[in-house]
Amino acid sequence: MSAPQKRARDEEKRPRVVEDDARLSRQAQERQRLELERTWANGRGFIAWLAETDHKVIGRRFIVTAFGYFTLGGILAALMRIQLAKPENTFLGPDLYNQIFTMHGTTMMFLFAVPVVLAMGVYLVPLMIGARGIAFPRMLAYGYWMFLFGGMFLYLMFFFNVGPDNGWFSYPPLAGPEYGYGKRADVWAQLITFTEVSGLVVATCLVVTIFKLRTPGMSLNRMPLFVWAMLIVSFMVIFAMPSIVISSTCLILDRLVSTHFFNQAEGGDPILWQHLFWFFGHPEVYIIFLPALGMMSEVIATFSRRSVFGYTEMILSMTATAFIGFGVWVHHMFATGLPQLGQSFFTAASIMIVIPTAIQIFNWIATIWTARRLQITVPFLYMASFFFVFIIGGLTGVMLASVPLDRQVHDTYFVVAHFHYVLIGGSTFPLLGGIYFWFPKMYGRMLDDRLGRISFWLLFAGFNLTFFPMHLLGLGGMPRRVYTYPAAMGWQGMNLLASVGAATIAVSLLVYLVNVVVSLRRGAVAGENPWGAATLEWATSSPPPSYNFSPQPTVASSEPLWHSELAPPPLVGLATDRREVLVTFLLDAEPDHRYEMPGPSLWPLLTAITTSIMFVWSIFNPWGVVWGSIPIFVTLTGWFWPTEKKERIKHGIHGRMRPSETLP
């Protein structure tokens, strides 16, 4: 600790408990809220909209945009199912089909599944931890713009017939310079760069927020399980995404400047791509999965009216899943001819990773079993379906972990069935339940119950009708990624069923959308806590004010709203004329210092524009990296350069810096 800090500590610069504080009076609180609103609220108008840094607004934008991409990905799936409904169908030719299945997978994995769960974290985490805002709000905004621009870039290229067509994992040599024609593979690789940059910055925001901005009293062992899930997921993002950044960069380099990373003729290796990709790719699916586990815990606890059984075990399970998830990637490569001994290790790890998730499932069932008058609401239905849908996917995963069996069903529709069961059953169903659950908080209105139930049952039926037959198709010899199949194979029955199921899914999602649109206007007004939940996001209005809370609550339990009798003292003393948040210590959330958050700014958008220009330019010309970096440097400098707040320069900074020295 430096000398000034030591002196500050000695001079009693610590928080203090104030008895009978007049700042809690109604007039004081009213005044406080007005000032806070003025300080934290963003302006109106287009520029203000572009300069937004409120995590709630950006979180909602992220979610809406992700669902927009989800819709596009779903349309692509519908096109595929139309083509495959009949053998030797001519609805789509091979080139368009190959682009479509690649776009579908790429959209769903990179533009929907990961961003949407990170976005739920962006919206909910600061509220759940009692903070006024998120750490690095401008960087968060930058992450959003990069996500939006990346997807726009991808779809623009697709509409110009330059859509990627090598599958969502783009194996070389097919995607390499010799066989990957035109710019399609470069478009894919650069889309990755956009979305990885976005994911990494959002993950950084979440980690720092969770570690440093929790309200006093919220020690690590009092954090909601959803916050734990987002913390673990953010770490996974940070450790996993660099691998695909490297591999996609190497692919572009091979294609653009004749490097030989994946060229076996010059000492490279196509299998290296697979290692690098799947080292990222497997954790990626757990990144998609874990936030859903967090949402499951919150919703199940709320409607069971009790905390989830085995809090510590749930955290250890999620952590174990995250760790083991980094050690199973070779199970995607069992058919490549790798040595058998190595493969056995990955079989064991891929089977063992089931155990932590199984423990979580048993704990949830125990929670529901001992519920105090369980409420079977629509969100609960979505969460409960996990026990029937995801588990099928988990079990087929155990089958796929076995090398001999995988050698038969790898790269067939059996795998397609498996991953849709685990991703949709394990992540999308809980997500839709979570959206239903937190929609009142985000928009102040309840979703319609009947439409919710119709949509749920349609989805449950449609999903199983679509994907269960695919197990049989895989067992019956139908490989993946085929634009058509011969009539003599006997595959048309199951394919037709799957296509009918896909239509059912489409209808169910349409009903969900109608529910959202209608309820935004005419839904029942939600109070602060319509579900009677326990966590802090429900301790403020719906939707929350721009400053989240006033006064900022502190906590004395992990279910603060169910234990209000503990009455921990609310927080006062944060400035209201600037966006001030309280930074606390990591383990026990003891108050540390006050920190001024930056306000709205156009720099994130401008930097996202310059970054996007450089990224797009560089797939056409390697010098784009050099020249394109110059505008990025300019915008980053503008972003970093502080605006003067001369009047608030502190004296007492050790006397060496005279006020006059700060003036230009």
Binding site: P404, L405, Q408
Partner: protein
């Protein structure tokens, strides 16, 4: 007799072992699913009742731990079964097995029956004959991108990776015709890169092998001679080879015994006169994007070529 390509209808020892593993896993997994589904349903019913069920934490811990323990035991059972079958799959090796070199291309299979004596080698394409009841070893290569050889009735798949040699052992135990298909996305016509595996009794297989070692028969009729001339001096010879003629191209399927194959275009269409005519005159119409350009033959030239090709048994 032609079989549907299902892994649940094994026709060889390796596929049979895997099929057995499948059923073991299937039944155990079904039991697990039922157990969890029933537990979840009971839990929902109980939780929904008016009075809260009071279960001491100790009991819950015990139950969860028991469930976890049972799960671990089940998983270890599955793991062991998998490892044992995996090891059993490696016992097919033998020193005097038939060796076949398969080289994958976009979007066809080059097949070469290996032999230390060069004149005894056989080169063909898209159709593999093997003897029933004897182990066969495939050496797998790729000329371009990653492909995967998969014959569901006989064995699990394995990739063909450029720059590497992979090996696949299998044995057919029932005579029949089995379909294989490329199972690693390899570009535009991945969907139509299939092949036919014919398992014959050993003497029939030897007969086939001997017949395929022969050069192409000489044409008999003038039309067939004309067809041969067109093939040798026209665009066909740039890519295709017919042993015993001037056609010596190596970048397309060997046509020496094309008429004895049951399919064309890597099992995309049956090998019958009309289909053959369609293929030779307009390959892009049947398999758009494949590497064979339309040879630009007139009607009369086409008939001559077909007449010649149909002699290549």
């Amino acid at each position: 007799m032609s079989h549907l390509p299902s892994i649940l209808h094994p026709a060889g020892i390796e596929a049979a072992r895997i099929s057995q593993l499948w059923w073991t896993m299937f039944w155990i997994c079904t039991a697990v699913w039922i157990a969890v589904a029933v537990a979840a349903l009971i839990a929902i019913r109980r939780g929904h009742r008016a009075a809260a069920v009071h279960v001491p934490d100790r009991t819950i811990v015990r139950n969860v731990a028991t469930a976890a323990a049972i799960s671990i035991v089940a998983l270890i059972a599955l793991l062991s079964q998998s490892v044992l079958i995996g090891r059993a799959l490696n016992t097919l090796r033998s020193d005097d097995a038939l060796r076949i070199n398969v080289t994958a291309n976009q979007w066809w299979w080059d097949i070469q029956y290996d032999n230390p004596v060069p004149s005894l080698r056989v080169t063909t394409a898209n159709e593999i004959h093997i003897p029933v009841g004897k182990p066969v070893a495939f050496n797998l290569f790729s000329n371009d991108v990653i492909h995967s050889l998969w014959i569901p009735n006989l064995q699990g798949k394995i990739d063909l990776v450029p720059g590497r040699r992979n090996e696949l052992w299998l044995q057919a135990d029932k005579a029949g015709v089995y379909r294989g298909q490329c199972a690693e996305y390899c570009g535009l016509q991945h969907a139509k890169m299939a092949l036919v595996v014919v398992a014959d009794p050993p003497d029939q297989f030897e007969y086939w092998l001997a017949a395929n070692r022969a050069s192409a028969p000489a044409p008999v009729t003038p039309e067939q001679q004309r067809g041969k001339d067109i093939v040798e001096k026209g665009p066909c010879a740039m890519c295709h080879a017919i042993t015993g003629t001037l056609a010596g191209g190596r970048s397309a399927p060997d046509l020496t015994h094309i008429a004895s194959r049951s399919t064309l275009g890597a099992a995309a269409i049956p090998n019958m006169h009309g289909y053959l005519a369609g293929w030779v005159s307009d390959p892009q119409g049947i398999k758009p994007g494949n590497r064979m350009p339309p040879p630009g033959l007139s009607g009369e030239e086409l008939q001559a070529v077909l007449a010649y090709l149909e002699t290549l048994k």
